[in-house]
C-alpha cells in the first residue's frame, strides 16, 4: 500500500513573529524555516508504517515555491522513498493577475502566499490518483495559517473517509480498515475507516525521529521529482487563492492585573468595575 504524505515549509515554530508594519501579514524575527511540526508527525507515522511492513512505499510531496525542496530533502532523510515537488509560487499567478503582490521565490508573507487549502487539496487529490495511494497522511494544520482545512477538503474531493486530529493509528498489514483515535474537545473518539482514507495527524500521534547524518548524506544524492501543475491536469485557476488577507493585527494587549488590599475591596471592585457581581 502506498502512503502519500504532504509536507509544508513554514517559519520555525520557535521563532518569534510580529505583525508587519503594513499590517499585510506577519514577519519572522529570524529567517529560520522548518518542516511544519504536524507534517513532521504525519511523515514519521508513514515511515513507521513502512518499517512495520504495512506500507510498501512512502511518497512525500510538497506544494510550494522552490525553496520547499529543502523540506523534501529532510523528508527523504527521515525515510520517505520518493519526493515530489509541485512548484507553486506567487509568480504562478502573476500573469493571470490573481492573488497578492508579485513575490520572488523566497519565503512569502502570509498575504502573498498562493498556498491555500482548497488549491493544495486539489493538487493532492490529483497526485493521490496518479500514485494510486491507499492512504494520505497530513498534518492537521500548518502553523502559519492555522487553517485546518486541507485534509478535510481533500477527503471531500476524493470522496474518501477521513479521520482528523489522530492521536493513535492502528493499521495492520493487508488490513482493509484503519482504526484511528481522534482527540476531540470532549475526549477521545475511536473510528474505523475503510481504506483508502485521509488521516490528519495531531500532536500526540508520535515523536518524530531526528535525522541521522548517514541518512542526511544519502538523501542529498536522491532526486526530487518536479511535477508541474499541467502534468497533473491542473491549471493555475484551479489552485489560485480564493481568499485575500485584508489585514493582520496584534491581539489587544492584556491589561495588567492589580492587587487589592482586602476582600472588601475585591468585592467592591468586582461589583463596580468588573460588573460581574
Amino acid at each position: 500500500m502506498k502512503v502519500l504524505v504532504a509536507v509544508k515549509r513554514v517559519i520555525d515554530y520557535a521563532v518569534p513573529v510580529r505583525v508587519r508594519p503594513d499590517k499585510a501579514g506577519v514577519e519572522a524575527l529570524l529567517p529560520k524555516l522548518s518542516m511544519n511540526p504536524f507534517c513532521e508527525i504525519a511523515l514519521e507515522e508513514a515511515v513507521r508504517l513502512k518499517e512495520k511492513g504495512v506500507a510498501s512505499e512512502v511518497v512525500a510531496v510538497s506544494v510550494g515555491p522552490q525553496h520547499f525542496q529543502d523540506t523534501l530533502r529532510t523528508a527523504l532523510a527521515m525515510g520517505a522513498d520518493r519526493a515530489v515537488h509541485v512548484p507553486l509560487a506567487a509568480d504562478t499567478f502573476a500573469a493571470a493577475g490573481a492573488g497578492g503582490a508579485a513575490g520572488a521565490g523566497g519565503p512569502p508573507a502570509a498575504s502573498e502566499s498562493p498556498l491555500q487549502p482548497l488549491g493544495v487539496a486539489r493538487v493532492l487529490a490529483a497526485l493521490a490518483g496518479r500514485e494510486g495511494a491507499g492512504l494520505v497522511l497530513l498534518g492537521k494544520q500548518a502553523i502559519d495559517d492555522d487553517c485546518n482545512q486541507t485534509g478535510q477538503m481533500l477527503a471531500g474531493l476524493l470522496g474518501w473517509p477521513q479521520a482528523t486530529f489522530a492521536s493513535r493509528l492502528e493499521l495492520d498489514k493487508g488490513a482493509a480498515a484503519a482504526r484511528v483515535t481522534r482527540e476531540v474537545d470532549g475526549g477521545l473518539e475511536v473510528l474505523s475507516l475503510p481504506l483508502p482514507a485521509v488521516i490528519t495527524a495531531d500532536l500526540r500521534l508520535n515523536t518524530p525521529r531526528f535525522v541521522t547524518l548517514p541518512a542526511m548524506m544519502r538523501a542529498k544524492k536522491r532526486p526530487i521529482e518536479s511535477a508541474p501543475l499541467e502534468g497533473l491536469g491542473l491549471a493555475p485557476h484551479d489552485v489560485a487563492p480564493a481568499l485575500a488577507v485584508i489585514g493582520v493585527e496584534e491581539p489587544p494587549t492584556r491589561a495588567a492585573g492589580t492587587r487589592v488590599g482586602s476582600v472588601e475591596e475585591l468585592v467592591r471592585r468586582l461589583r463596580e468595575e468588573a460588573r460581574v457581581l
Binding site: 515554530y13 520557535a14 518542516m35 513532521e40 493513535r168 548524506m217
Partner: protein, 596 residues
C-alpha cells in the same frame, strides 16, 4: 558544620568581625526600607544555602539595595562596624563563594535589576549588576543582539556575578572571555580611597561634581562620583588605554575586592543562521580529531564545541523529564529510566540499545559509567544560512568519512536544537538529583583531558568506590529490593522506585577551551571518598600545568588549593592588593585566598 565536611582544614570565625546587633538592623532598615532587609529565618534559607545545598551559612540578615548609593552606604557602615559581608548575585556558584561561611551579612544584587542603556548601533549594553543574564539576552535579542556569554544558569545568574567570577560558559570559544567583552564596571569598594568631600549632609547628597565623559549611568548616580568609595570605570569604549586597566582586577575577583554595581558589556549581533549538530565519537581521541576538523572547516562560524561521555548521557536521560539523546532510540532511554513506557503508536521501532530490557523488574546493570563512546555538540553562528549549511555539511561528510564520527544528527528545527542542548545543559541538574556530587572544573591539555576521568575511575574503583556489580535480592520490611549494577530498584505500592548506590565518575565540558567538568556522583557525601579524590585530582592537574579552576572560581571550596595553580609570588601580590583595597577583610572573607 557543613563547610568542614568538605574541607581538610577547619575554618575558624574571625574574632575581629562584629556580630549583628539590633542597631545594625535598624540602620539597614533606615537606608533600605523594610523590603530591603530580610531577617525571617525561612526567607533567609535561599541566601544562606548554595544551589547544590553543599554549603550553608548562618547569616541573620540579607540586604537588597536598589542603587549604587545604597550599596556604598551599606559598605561604609559595615566597614565602620567591622561586619563581614558576602556579595551575592543569583547564587548559582558551584564553589561556595556566594554564601556566608558563618554569619556574614548577605548583600544581594537582586533589587538592582535595571537596564541603564543600550546602544543599538554599537551593541553596547549598560546594566545594573543584578540583571539576570537571560533577561538581558532577551532585552538585547529584541534589538538584534545577543549577550556574549551563555551558561546553564542563565535563568538565574546575575551579570554582576558573572563578571565577578569571570564566567566562561558555552560560547567562550567564539565570543571570548569577559575580560575581553566587559567594557566597563562600576564597583563600590569597602574603603574610600579618597577622603569624603567637606560638608555632606546625611550620606549621599547629590553633588553635581560629575566627571567628564561620564555615561548616562554614571550621571544617574551623580552623587556617588564624589563618593571616594565608588570606583567609576563605566565606559562603553572599545579602546581605552589610559593607565592600568583596573576593571580586569574585579573581573574574576569573586566579590573579594569590591561590589560590582553596574556593568558595561559589548554584545554581539544575533546570528541569522544557527546550525547545531550532535555527533557520536567512538573514542576521546576521535573527539579531539573532530575538534581539529571543526576548527579548520567551520573556523570563523564555529560558536560552541562541547563534549560529554555516555555516562553523562545516561544520567541526563534517566533523571530529567523529557530529556533524550537523539542518537539513541527512545525506548532505550525509557528503559534506562526503569519506567516501562507504553510504546508509541503504530508499534514504532522496538529497538532497545545495549541489551537493556524495559518492563517490570527494572533494568539490567552494567554499561552505565563506562566510556563506551563520546558525544559532541557542535554549533555555528553565522550571517548566511546557505553558506553555513554548506560548511556544516562539508564538515559532517568529512568527519564521517574519516571515521572519527560514527553517527550524528543535525537539528532540523529550533525544537530539535533545544532537545540537543537540553542533553548537554541538563547534566549538572541530573547529577544533583542522583545524589551527592563532587564537582571539579579543570583546565588541561585537550589530548589528556579525559585521562583524568579514566584514572580517577580506576582509582576509586580499586578503593572500593565503584559502581557496584552483581545482583542482590533481599526483602526489606516486606518490600523486595533488588540491587544490580549499582542500582537499587524496588516496587513500593505498585510503583517502581529507583535508587542508585554506586559511585560514578563522569566527564563533560568545553572541549574547545580545554576545560573538563569532572564529576563524581555518589549516593552520599563521604570523607573517605573525598580523600581518594583530593588532592589526587589537584596533583594530576598540577603535573600537567593545568588549572584547578577553569571557570568556576575558587570560592570556599578551593581556597586551600590555590597553590596548586598559582605560585607564592603571585599569591603574595594578590594578598597585598586585597589588603590595600580591603584592609579589614570584610568582603567575602575565607574565600579565594588561602588562609594564612
Amino acid at each position: 558544620m557543613r563547610a568542614r565536611r568538605l574541607l581538610h582544614t577547619a575554618i575558624e570565625r574571625r574574632s575581629a568581625f562584629a556580630r549583628l546587633s539590633e542597631q545594625d538592623l535598624a540602620f539597614f532598615q533606615s537606608i533600605l526600607g523594610n523590603s530591603g532587609v530580610i531577617t525571617d529565618a525561612d526567607a533567609l534559607v535561599p541566601f544562606n544555602q548554595d544551589w547544590q545545598k553543599k554549603y550553608e551559612g548562618k547569616s541573620r540578615v540579607a540586604l537588597r539595595p536598589r542603587s549604587t548609593e545604597q550599596v556604598s552606604e551599606v559598605l561604609r557602615y559595615c566597614s565602620s562596624r567591622r561586619l563581614a559581608v558576602v556579595p551575592q548575585g543569583g547564587n548559582t556558584g558551584l564553589v561556595g563563594g556566594s554564601v556566608p561561611v558563618f554569619d556574614e551579612v548577605v548583600l544581594s544584587t537582586a533589587a538592582m535589576n535595571k537596564v541603564l542603556e543600550f546602544d543599538e548601533v554599537s551593541g553596547t549594553l549598560v546594566a545594573q549588576s543584578g540583571c539576570v543574564l537571560a533577561a538581558l539576552d532577551e532585552h538585547v535579542g529584541a534589538r538584534g543582539f545577543m549577550m556574549p556569554l551563555d551558561l546553564g544558569a542563565k535563568g538565574s545568574c546575575h551579570i554582576g556575578g558573572n563578571v565577578s567570577t569571570n564566567a566562561g560558559g558555552l560560547r567562550l570559544v567564539r565570543y571570548g572571555s569577559l575580560h575581553g567583552s566587559v567594557l566597563g564596571l562600576e564597583v563600590v569598594l569597602p574603603e574610600p580611597l579618597l577622603p569624603p568631600p567637606p560638608s555632606r549632609g546625611g550620606g549621599g547628597g547629590s553633588s553635581s561634581g560629575s566627571s567628564n565623559g561620564a555615561t548616562a549611568s554614571a550621571a544617574a548616580t551623580a552623587g556617588s562620583t564624589a563618593d571616594g568609595r565608588v570606583l567609576d570605570l563605566l565606559r562603553t569604549l572599545r579602546k581605552d588605554n589610559t593607565g592600568y586597566d583596573l576593571k580586569q582586577l574585579f573581573i574574576g575577583a569573586e566579590g573579594t575586592l569590591g561590589v560590582v554595581t553596574a556593568v558595561a558589556i559589548q554584545c554581539a549581533p544575533r546570528p541569522a543562521s544557527v546550525q547545531l549538530a550532535l555527533l557520536a565519537c567512538p573514542t576521546f581521541a576521535a573527539a579531539c580529531t573532530t575538534l581539529r576538523a571543526a576548527r579548520r572547516m567551520l573556523g570563523e562560524v564555529l560558536s560552541a564545541v562541547e563534549f560529554l561521555d555516555s555516562a553523562c548521557s545516561d544520567l541526563a536521560t534517566a533523571y530529567l523529564d523529557g530529556v533524550r539523546n537523539p542518537l539513541l532510540p527512545q525506548d532505550a532511554a525509557a528503559a534506562v529510566a526503569g519506567l516501562g513506557e507504553a510504546g508509541d503508536t503504530g508499534g514504532g521501532a522496538a529497538v532497545v540499545a545495549r541489551g537493556r530490557g524495559g518492563g517490570e523488574e527494572g533494568l539490567e546493570g552494567g554499561g552505565v559509567g563506562d566510556d563506551r563512546q563520546f558525544y559532541m555538540v557542535v554549533e555555528t553562528h553565522g550571517s548566511d544560512a546557505d553558506h553555513d549549511t554548506q560548511k556544516m555539511e562539508r564538515f559532517l561528510e568529512h568527519v564521517m568519512a574519516e571515521g572519527c564520527v560514527t553517527d550524528g544528527t543535525l537539528a532540523a528545527s529550533e525544537a530539535q536544537a533545544k532537545t540537543i542542548w537540553r542533553l548537554r545543559e541538563g547534566i549538572a541538574e541530573a547529577l544533583a538529583r542522583r545524589g551527592a556530587v563532587y564537582k571539579y572544573d579543570v583546565s588541561l591539555p585537550t589530548a589528556v583531558m579525559y585521562d583524568l576521568v579514566e584514572v580517577l575511575r580506576q582509582r576509586l574503583g580499586a578503593a572500593g568506590f565503584g559502581p557496584e556489580g552483581g545482583v542482590q535480592v533481599r526483602r526489606e520490611g516486606g518490600v523486595q529490593v533488588r540491587r544490580e549494577g549499582g542500582v537499587q530498584v524496588r516496587r513500593e505500592g505498585g510503583v517502581q522506585v529507583r535508587r542508585e548506590e554506586g559511585v560514578q565518575v563522569v566527564g563533560y565540558g568545553h572541549i574547545g577551551d580545554g576545560n573538563l567538568h569532572l564529576n563524581i556522583s555518589a549516593p552520599r557525601y563521604d570523607d573517605d571518598l573525598l580523600h581518594q579524590i583530593e588532592p589526587y585530582v589537584y596533583e594530576f592537574v598540577r603535573q600537567h600545568n593545568g588549572s584547578i579552576s577553569a571557570e568556576h572560581g575558587i570560592g570556599l571550596m578551593k581556597a586551600g588549593a590555590l597553590p596548586y595553580s598559582k605560585g607564592p609570588v603571585a599569591i603574595e601580590l594578590m594578598r597585598r592588593i586585597k589588603e590595600t583595597v580591603d584592609p579589614y577583610g570584610i568582603l567575602n572573607p575565607y574565600k579565594v585566598l588561602p588562609q594564612r
